[in-house]
């Protein structure tokens, strides 16, 4: 028995690899034919090999439990790659660059003259109520004028194949280490596939990230000391913090390792004494960064860090306050933001959205709660969301009340029918829903990962791709479709 593509049914959805006529999409031909030729025994062997690789590389994510402390779980991985044709990808890449450029301009403007508010494009009230607007950051000029150095934007595809940006993660987006490890696993398990097609490499991300971070160092520094600041071993992304630090040859530090001196410079405590730190890739949320400036109870942060940053003695990536643009309601303004700052039409589309702050749109949302997806402005990781068609009456009533109480904090979107890709389920293939998180680096230069992290909902019919809720991942191949 081999995989039978003829019985693969993804009719109700847009499938990433197989077109409606049952033929492979551009770029997917080799993958489809190769997997179709593998025997069951071979598929099982490859699957086992991939799982063994994942275990031996120690690719894990942590789940914290009261009884057993932190448990590392192996990262669920599907061996059938998700392919995207290079030509389509180049457009997406341009769209991402455009988007992040505009968002950085927006953040910089918000913390300076607020021209966009003055010109009536962006309402002042939204800013006043924003949970991620940091008054402490007003007037600060971060290096190169960039605030969001590392952005992870979630892309989805609807039934008709249109690519939408679902959200932009501008605070501390994670997942890039899985993208890198997935590729390593695939290269070891399916080397023959890499010989036969041109797949765009992803391995240079750590050096691109290092270059981006180093470009933020104060100008008089020849050899900048770059560190990765982690909340510690109990953070679910600790594996990634370790991984990136190792790959960049940067020190992995915790808040207690750093100290701000009387000269407002940041130092790390080493056995040789104090060593100056120039750039901090911080993986700690704004409010925990500096107990002096923000949450006084934070033990994760470094007292005085914000002061050091404001005086330009240290660069923080991402800059504090960058999250102001990482707000689901601000998201609805991104097309306007792109037009306002760049004078261009957006290349990538936003999911059509209703703003509950607008009375007319709010009425529509309240009348159609059973069809829409309602999102609070400032949650991440899929928390606090109402999925209308799957909701109960009680849940809808609760959301209606919340929306009336605090309309600015909610937006709604029609439920997208996410695209699928063939995924191995007990030696045959079934369609499973997925999304894509590319990472965009903005420093002296802009860099977009070739593809990104494809997250797949492994449960049948599910559209929840989060690893904590039954999600897994696939390697993402940007394939040169001109060659095949």
């Amino acid at each position: 028995m081999t995989i039978s593509w003829h019985s693969y049914q993804a009719d109700a959805y847009f499938d990433e690899l197989i077109a409606d006529n049952g033929l492979p999409r551009p770029g997917a031909e080799t993958v489809i034919s190769h997997f179709g030729e593998l025997s069951d025994a071979e598929i099982e062997a490859r699957k086992a090999a991939a799982e063994a690789e994942i275990l031996s590389m120690g690719i894990t994510f942590s789940v914290y439990s009261e009884s057993e402390g932190s448990i590392d779980r192996a990262w669920p991985f599907d061996i059938i790659p998700r392919t995207i044709g290079l030509r389509e990808w180049m457009t997406i890449e341009q769209g991402l660059i455009q988007r992040v450029k505009a968002l950085n301009r927006f953040i910089d403007d918000i913390y300076h003259d607020q021209n966009i508010v003055r010109d009536g494009v962006f309402p002042k009230t939204l800013l006043a109520d924003s949970k991620n607007f940091r008054p402490e950051c007003v007037g600060v000029d971060p290096p190169l004028g960039v605030w969001a150095h590392v952005c992870g934007s979630d892309l989805v595809r609807d039934r008709d194949g249109t690519v939408y940006v679902l959200e932009d993660n501008l605070r501390v987006p994670s997942g890039v280490s899985y993208m890198l490890e997935n590729r390593l696993v695939m290269k070891r398990v399916f080397p023959e596939l890499f010989e036969n097609i041109s797949i765009q490499p992803v391995d240079d991300y750590p050096s691109q990230l290092y270059a981006c971070l180093a470009s933020l160092a104060p100008p008089d520094v020849d050899y900048p000391e770059v560190v990765v600041l982690t909340p510690g071993i109990y953070n679910s992304a600790y594996f990634e913090h370790c991984y990136l630090a190792q790959q960049m040859g940067a020190e992995l530090v915790e808040g207690s390792d750093l100290i701000v001196g009387d000269d407002d410079c940041v130092y790390m405590r080493t056995i040789e004494g104090l060593g100056r730190v120039h750039v901090i890739y911080r993986r700690i949320d704004d409010l925990f960064l500096d107990p002096e400036a923000f949450n006084p109870d934070s033990v994760l942060g470094v007292p005085g860090l914000l002061r050091a940053w404001k005086r330009g003695k240290v660069a923080l990536a991402n800059a504090p306050g960058a999250g102001v643009a990482d707000d689901k309601v601000v998201y609805t303004y991104v097309p306007e933001i792109i037009e306002y700052y760049l004078g261009e039409q957006p290349i990538l589309r936003n999911v059509p959205s209703y703003r509950c702050s607008d009375p007319e749109q709010r009425d529509y949302v309240l009348g159609h709660l059973d069809e829409l997806v309602v999102k609070p402005a400032n949650e991440s990781g899929g928390y606090g969301i109402l999925i209308g068609p799957k909701s109960t009456r009680k849940e809808r009533d609760w959301f209606a009340e919340q929306i009336r109480k605090d309309p600015r904090n909610y937006m709604a979107q029609p439920l997208l029918i996410l695209s699928t890709a063939p995924t191995l389920v007990d030696l045959h293939v079934e369609p499973r829903h997925l999304d894509l998180r590319p990472f965009i680096l903005s420093g002296l230069q802009t860099y977009v990962t070739n593809g990104g992290l494809t997250r797949v909902a492994l449960r049948k019919g599910s559209t929840v791709v989060n690893s904590s809720q039954g999600g897994g991942s696939k390697d993402t191949w940007i394939v040169n479709d001109d060659e095949s």
């Binding site: 190792q246 000269d263 790390m268 405590r269 104090l274």
Partner: protein, 326 residues
Amino acid sequence: MTMLSRVAEHLYWMARYLERAENTARLITANANLILDLPKNIRPGWESLIAITGSRELFSEHCPATNESSVIRFLIGDQRNPASILCSLRFARENARTVRDIIPREAWEQINELYLRANDHLANGLSARRRFGYLKDIILGVQQLAGIAAGTMSHDAGYEFYRLGCNLERADMTTRIIDVRYQDYEAEVAEAMRPFENILWMSVLKSLTAYQMYRRHRQAAVTRLDVVEFLLKDRAFPRSTRFCIDEMADCLRNLPRSQKPLELLGPLDELIDGCCASTLAQEDLHEFIDKLQIRLADVHTAVKICYFEASVVGEGGATSASSQAA
């Protein structure tokens, strides 16, 4: 390669807790054997172990009765006793977890499994019949870890901190054992015990796995004075105080900025040199060992200030350190 103070500190404490667990396991094993060898009226009992581990107050607070089972439970599995074997292994594991990316994978797995096994089979440790195997497993587990560390970890600054912690804890534990045993047997039962002196001091040696080595190096009878001399001064036996101090000096010489803690080792060495067990009266020996322990604690403090607390207490604060960093 930079070594963060925090990482160095975790490696140091990981080693200390592991060493502590091993030494406590040795102590219990030796005492149990000793009790079996002595006539009922002069059996030393188990209180002395509480004294050796320096937990008399804590013990009397939690355990109303002093008997074999209460002492054993307290020393092996009591979560309220931070020096119990189980707590020591747990602390070692928590320290190791934080530096997982620095230590070899096998080392982490070994520590993790050692703790889990010790915890799962705690009942064996409390049972007189199965205790020996349980404690042996812990001793060998820690020894195995020392092998993994020596054989697979880069012998860089991190390894030196591991060795430093191990030897400081070991030196401290050896002086404790000498002190308490010495007191025990010089008390009023001394006369009744005289015929058993040989056996008693053999048990001291055995608690440190020193019996065979002692025999090889000193073809003398097992007497109190000879044993004390051997355990304090022998240059070749790895659990003697002198040997541990030599090791610590070696570690420190391989580390940067080690002048201060190294300076404290010299007088310690002289102190041991100057000690002549045969001329020391009972109280004097006790005082002498007190002095040794205080000096060892001073070394720990100096290491802590020098390496783990960069700038917090250092004179001049961060500003002076910035010129040092430049």
